[in-house]
Subunit: 457 residues, 2 copies
Amino acid sequence: MLKTNIKKQLMAIVGQERFFDDDETLVAYSYDGYVVESRPDAVLFPLATEEVSEIMKIADQHRVPVIARGGGSNLTGGTVPVEGGIVLNFTKMNRILEVNTGDRFTVVQPGVINANLQKELSKVNYFFPPDPSSMGFSTIGGNVAENAGGPRCLKYGVTGDYILGMVVVLASGKVIRTGSCNVKDVTGYRLSSLFCGSEGTLGIITEVTLRIVPLPESYRTIVAYYNNLADTAETVKAVLAQGIIPTAMELMDKVTTNLVEDNAGLGLPREFEGMLIIEVDGVSEAVSSQAEKISKIAKSFGAIEILEAKSSQERESLWKARKSVHGVLSKLAPNCVTEDATVPVSKVPEMIIGVRAILDRHNITAGIVAHAGDGNIHPVIITDTRDTEEWSRVETAAAEIFKLAVELRGTLSGEHGIGLAKKQFLPLVLDENTRELMSVVKKALDPAGLLNPGKFV
Amino acid sequence: MLKTNIKKQLMAIVGQERFFDDDETLVAYSYDGYVVESRPDAVLFPLATEEVSEIMKIADQHRVPVIARGGGSNLTGGTVPVEGGIVLNFTKMNRILEVNTGDRFTVVQPGVINANLQKELSKVNYFFPPDPSSMGFSTIGGNVAENAGGPRCLKYGVTGDYILGMVVVLASGKVIRTGSCNVKDVTGYRLSSLFCGSEGTLGIITEVTLRIVPLPESYRTIVAYYNNLADTAETVKAVLAQGIIPTAMELMDKVTTNLVEDNAGLGLPREFEGMLIIEVDGVSEAVSSQAEKISKIAKSFGAIEILEAKSSQERESLWKARKSVHGVLSKLAPNCVTEDATVPVSKVPEMIIGVRAILDRHNITAGIVAHAGDGNIHPVIITDTRDTEEWSRVETAAAEIFKLAVELRGTLSGEHGIGLAKKQFLPLVLDENTRELMSVVKKALDPAGLLNPGKFV
């Protein structure tokens, strides 16, 4: 609980109507999309950079932790206030401040929901490429702090590739402005890149300038079904080997399609071991020839059935199957843990077979989906953390999955971040000197350790 | 001059044959592509990360500055040892350690020349997109440390967008390994992004893992000539407004084409005010339709003559005109200063007119070339720094150009960096808090200030 004088000072900044410390609110902000819970002392809804700066100054003075939070969809416990403190909920700082198609950038507040930004941009025939599966409710601020990915990052790259500039409130409450609206800008250190992916541990992002891209002229979306899961992954490798970079190549295994069918009834065929969605976008003439090549490759790698979306409705319904996985599976049990170990694409067949073997060995119910084109594998594990025996098996399996990924030259996390879930595994990929340097950076920017404490650094 | 005992210790690491402190060598390393000169105390040619680490430990112990250097083509004095010390010449650490087309990355030592990497990659139908005009002699280490750009960054992005991982020797001599070979990797802070563009002030890069891209199926290269310079820039805006992102859109003004013709005789027409080279690449069907659209747009904006390269020879000869500008102009006078202020593309017409007016007002001989598609404007000024009156006019003009760029929402440098040339202008774009944060980062990573001291931070 915050001391009365601190509470008073904070209330003076945001007013009573944007300050909460009732039990119900504190419980609601004690968790995110992962399984750990810990209550904050207060939840504030700032409206402006200046307010965040004032709040941060008070927090600094009284040594109170501050945790920035967007949609709360983090899958690694990144927004859980493990040491209490103030949660800054950015959902009211959700304005799109500028959309500049001539110069291809947009300036947004951190609380803008990704899908809402897409909607606004589509009105002027533009889009923001990063499309995490949470885009319907996750915010740009969260996307940036986690360096979020998504299916179409295969072609377009991740969130960090689209950041031109930022306004950030530092641990001291000082405000900095990094970058600009220019794609080429080598004026000083690339500080925006440092805050991106720092999971709220280095500064509080209060404004972002993002590069935007013209909507492609057309899409072609192909679905291929296989009797052998490894063949889906081999198809992915072969498509890339031909020099084709699709927008996305998404893989789902039989367990996943059947769990989705059981619970959402989308009409997916149940009998196949693997399903692959491949989408290409671009100039009409180009995507047609690419789609033909992809179908041929899929066939040559054993695809039993190949469908192509004939309309944008059909395209959307194909994507619905993929996008509904997390939502559907998370309703099947009290907890749903989605891992996101990543391997080089050539290792995807080996990784998928290995992950399924690990899950089976530990008798764990999980679907496997993957952004296969960039090696980002998601075992979606449905479990109950209260069942300590089962949860211990889940933890063992996760550790084995990380170890396998690293053995295959991969990494712990492709897009979900480290947060609490993977902090103990960092030494698998980062040696002591590198972890020490991260602490040096953290200490330099946040000497009192107030920004999202208790996390990976 | 280094003390005898330090010299002995360094020689024990690299051997006599890779240690130099004779006058001739020290003079040769006292300058780069800018106009400032200052001698180092010694020049060493390391062969391995371990050697760099050992050298750095000795430098740290004795508080000797260390300056990393690749091809020495830096245009802002970034590699000039203004406080003396040890220059590490990386040109002998020039091996390509791995080319992995299946997983689309390459691992290189920092001394690999950009063009040599391109040559090796082209053998397996891949390329590394960043293509600074210095690519024939600049190294990947330098490209990374400067976050280099180039013409085709319009479509493909800058060097920083292609870095997957790094090995870096810190100021203490400790070695860290950041990132991996995975495109999606959110495992800890994005330290590679911090070292990229840090101009050798935060650490010494000794290995880089880079993302590579399949060579496009085909190119179309168009040249358009205009009677009015602003029309070239309007064409650039209009092409982008149609949602076409060419590989490159390069602009040259009449002064430039005539200076090139006077001195290289490439057969360029001399009468036009502006020349625009536009290139598209990709799937054959797509580039054909894009090339047609571009020709139409150029015509509608007043292009008098429009040519298209009919062969790869013709394509190369068109590019030769552009790529020879710096080389030709730098031979016309003792000094050649290339600025690279950058503005949003919508402001390119205004910027080009403004820059020409500034140059004329100060009676300065200069061509204007531009990576117009990304707003990166290069006035190429030919001058003689010994003529103090003229040099003072050049400095005044440069200051006015930077001010104009910032007024137009642009920035000081698109791809050349800050180095010595622009350090005094940083406050134009970065406020006090942001500059202070850069110092905090510098101090945390290099407490004794040994890495490339006297530069922008």
